[in-house]
């Protein structure tokens, strides 16, 4: 039976190959014909437009100029052979009652919808994660994506709306949906803020809900980051979502021959992992200094230092200091960096409550409750190489990241290493595949469901797409 099917398929293939070639030729002819028609249409359109403009110029030249007219400055007339395609500044023409009755912006937009007619930009970014790990890690909910081990899930589907409010301010609103626990999709306001652009002394004020500019990666949405997952130090010290706060940030760019940006911010302090007091009367205060240097034509480095200081839910102060660096090497003529290296370090000075200890086992604490300072820190360093300049191979990259961090409150530390490869068929689509090995110095805190996960091995997959508008990424 199988052999009969094979013979049938083979025969069908042979019989179809000749007509297929003929079809190819016919399809190419049709394509060629269509291109010729398109070219003719374009040429005709061009000629008609030139004729129309010529007629318009003639009409305007024969019409008496109103006093308020502001024609192009004298001397602007192009030389005869240099075709000026449209008048620089068309003379004002007295409006007729009919003109005044016509709908105007913004109402006219509905009649003229098309490119450039929207009042703001909008885009959708989709970021999907898949991960595979050991059974004990799954059971203990101790993977990188806690509660979503061995799943493929939408981490961040983001609708972004952004643009100018008026000549003085712009706004951005980002709404995100993503899986937070097995199968549960949460919808949340990721960002909603406005920026006053024309304040005195070259300052800008951003207010609303925002991802704080603390360190390198915190202000960047997950789908735009250099790695599949958030570095461990950021997850431990700033929480799964990072530092997203409500308040205001003031920035100032120094009048120097090199880039130096200073930032101060005042926020509620809603982040429960690091702060959590959530009151402007006891605010979270942030600050950042960022500088940048070109190292020849190809290299460039950015250095930053950040601080965030606020009160925790225990009403104790927590101060986070951040230091970061990013280096890119983009050879002349390349459209993407050959080498990207980056790293961040966070140092925490946090006062915490420590309950009294029962030293003799009688069930009664023998030492008093007290407060102690937890000075903890962690860091990561990583990078990516895209070794090919052009062609399909230029779409491939390979990278790695090393993490080392202490835990902010409990005892212990962990380290992790994670290589990955990436492939971007276009600027708007990217896939990454990575491996991550994590080792923890303790089992405490990673033992849900009577399981534990001191060593974790994970295979990570990421698929990211962008629909519509997406602003260019800063360095």
């Amino acid at each position: 039976m199988r052999s009969l099917v094979g013979i049938g398929l083979l025969s069908a293939g042979v019989l179809m190959s000749a007509p297929a070639a003929a079809q190819d030729v016919e399809a190419l002819r049709q394509e060629l014909q269509q291109m010729r028609k398109q070219f003719e249409a374009m040429r005709e359109g061009y000629e008609k437009a030139i004729d129309r403009l010529g007629e318009r110029i003639q009409q305007l030249e024969t019409r008496p100029q109103p006093a308020a007219a502001t024609p192009a400055p004298p001397g602007l007339a192009p030389a005869p052979a240099v075709a000026q395609t449209a008048p620089a500044d068309p003379p004002a023409i007295a409006a007729t009652p009919l003109d005044l009755a016509r709908p105007r912006q913004p109402f006219a937009l509905y009649g003229n919808r098309g490119p450039g007619q929207l009042l703001f930009d909008m885009g959708v970014a989709g970021d999907f994660i898949g991960n595979l790990t050991q059974r004990n890690v799954d059971k203990a909910n101790a993977g990188t994506f806690a509660g979503r081990e061995n799943r493929f899930f939408p981490r961040e589907i983001e609708l972004a709306l952004f643009g100018q409010i008026d000549p003085y301010a712009r706004a951005e609103v980002r709404v995100e949906a993503g899986e937070e626990d097995q199968g549960e999709i949460a919808l949340r306001l990721a960002e909603a803020n406005l920026t006053l652009l024309s304040l005195p002394f070259n300052t800008q004020l951003k207010m609303g809900q925002m991802r704080n500019r603390f360190g390198l990666l915190n202000s960047i949405h997950e789908h735009d980051r250099n790695f599949i997952d958030a570095p461990n130090v950021l997850r431990w010290f700033l929480g799964e979502e990072g530092l997203v706060e409500r308040g205001a940030e003031l920035t100032w760019v120094a009048p120097l021959p090199f880039f130096l940006e200073a930032l101060v911010g005042v926020f509620n302090g809603d982040n429960e992992d690091a702060f959590g007091r959530g009151k402007l009367s006891e605010p979270l205060v942030t600050g950042r200094l960022r500088t940048f240097f070109e190292l020849g034509d190809a290299g460039a480095i950015q250095l930053g230092a950040s601080v965030a200081s606020g009160e925790t839910t225990e009403r104790h102060r927590n101060t986070l200091l951040g230091f970061d660096a990013k280096y890119k090497f983009t050879p002349v003529g390349w459209q993407h960096p050959l080498i990207t290296l980056l790293g961040e370090m966070i140092y925490q000075i946090r006062r915490v409550n420590v309950l009294g200890e029962d030293t003799n086992g009688d069930g009664v604490p023998d030492t008093p409750d007290q407060t102690r300072v937890r000075n903890r820190w962690g860091w990561y360093a990583g990078g990516e190489v895209q070794p090919f300049q052009t062609g399909w191979l230029s779409r491939f990259g390979a990278g790695f990241r090393y993490d080392w961090t202490q835990y902010p409150v409990m005892r212990g530390r962990e380290w992790a290493v994670g290589p990955f490869v990436s492939f971007s068929p276009s600027e708007f689509l990217r896939f990454r595949l990575g491996y991550k090995h994590t080792e923890r110095a303790t089992r405490d805190g990673f033992g849900d469901n009577e399981s534990s996960a001191r060593k974790v091995d994970e295979i990570l997959f990421q698929a990211t797409f962008i629909l519509g508008a997406h602003p260019a990424h800063p360095f």
Binding site: L28, L32, F39, Y46, L53, A72, P73, P74, G75, L76, P78, A79, A81, V82, A83, T85, P87, A88, D89, P115, G116, Q164, P167, T195, L197, S198, N202, Q204, T251, W252, V253, A254, P255, L256, P257, F259, L260, E261, L289, F292, F293, E294, A300, Q302, K328, G333, Q335, P337, T390, G391, W392, S394, P425, S426, E427, P471, A472, H473, P474, F475
Partner: protein
């Protein structure tokens, strides 16, 4: 002993207060209008109008593809000091908006007097007439933005720049107009030469790597004959290249033009298969060493096209 934070704060304050001394500006330079253009073409055209009265810098270098420029803070430093920002528009240099947002300079915000969109009033080619989406590649939804390649557009572009300069420095209008008239006269003089050089090849088809030279072709009667990119911004597939080679053979296309940052080896393989030549054109002022001014750039492109089509 002073705390490190206090020492750092004092150092930064001293740096900022001493900044004017660090800036490489003399009194004469301080009187000049500081203009930043997004591309080297617009820099050259602004210099042609502004002459000695302006100090012009560009964000993209001549050897950088302006479609996808990395937004470096060093670009923000340039825009931070600018009185006027000249943008190409038509969504070629959208990245400039991110630069402006990071520069904290209200003088060059969209709609401010210090902002010039050089594409205003131009007759734009390849404006889509039907629905476009990214299945067509990285298409420009408001039309082809590479109008500076056509010297015939210089009159309108420089008129836009002149209007911007006059808005900020009205007393210098006569000087700007004089500079512009002299520049356009030079373009006019060269235009006859360029047209004569390419006249024998009118109607000839030329394959491009990316549709950058459509305006140049249209001006001198050459015809766009397909592209090596599958679709704008999308690398070529073997199937696409095979079809392109067949088309080139059928249409007897003899020339493939590329930008300096394109995959020249791939273009050479295609040209070799189709029996054509490959020539690198200057996609911007400064893109090749022979193209250091606007007129030189057009001159180089015209000469290279003529030589390639011969």
């Amino acid at each position: 002993m002073r705390s490190p934070i206090r020492v750092t704060a004092i150092a930064i304050l001293a740096l900022v207060l001493g900044a004017p001394g660090l800036l490489p500006e003399n009194a004469a330079a301080a009187d000049k209008l500081r203009v930043v253009a997004t591309t080297t073409d617009l820099k050259a055209l602004t210099e042609a109008v502004g002459g000695d009265l302006v100090d012009v810098d560009s964000l993209a270098r001549g050897n950088q593809n302006p479609h996808d420029l990395e937004v470096r803070p060093s670009l923000m430093v340039k825009v931070r000091r600018a009185d006027l920002l000249v943008v190409n528009g038509l969504e070629l240099d959208l990245w400039a908006e991110v630069v402006v947002q990071g520069a904290n300079n209200p003088k060059v915000l969209p709609g401010a007097p210090g902002r010039v969109d050089a594409s205003e009033g131009l007759l734009v080619l390849e404006v889509p007439t039907a629905k476009v989406d990214r299945s067509m590649g990285d298409v420009h939804p408001v039309g082809n933005p590479h109008y500076t390649m056509d010297p015939g557009m210089a009159a309108q572009i420089t008129a836009n720049i002149l209007n911007g300069l006059v808005r900020l420095q009205p007393q210098s209008r006569p000087a700007f107009e004089k500079n512009r008239a002299a520049f356009l006269a030079a373009v006019e003089q060269a235009m006859g030469r360029w047209a004569a050089t390419l006249a024998p090849f009118k109607g000839a088809k030329v394959v491009q790597y990316h549709p950058v030279f459509v305006y140049l072709f249209t001006r001198f009667g050459l015809v766009k004959g397909g592209a090596i990119e599958d679709r704008p911004g999308i690398p070529a597939t073997p199937g696409h290249l095979s079809r392109l080679i067949q088309e080139m053979k059928q249409e007897r296309i003899k020339l493939v033009v590329v930008e300096p940052w394109n995959d020249v080896k791939l273009a050479e393989r295609v040209a070799q298969e189709a029996g054509a030549k490959v020539r690198v054109l200057a996609a911007a002022v400064g893109a090749v060493k022979e193209a250091q001014t606007y007129l030189d750039t057009v001159d180089y492109n015209v000469r290279t096209l003529a030589e390639g089509l011969r």
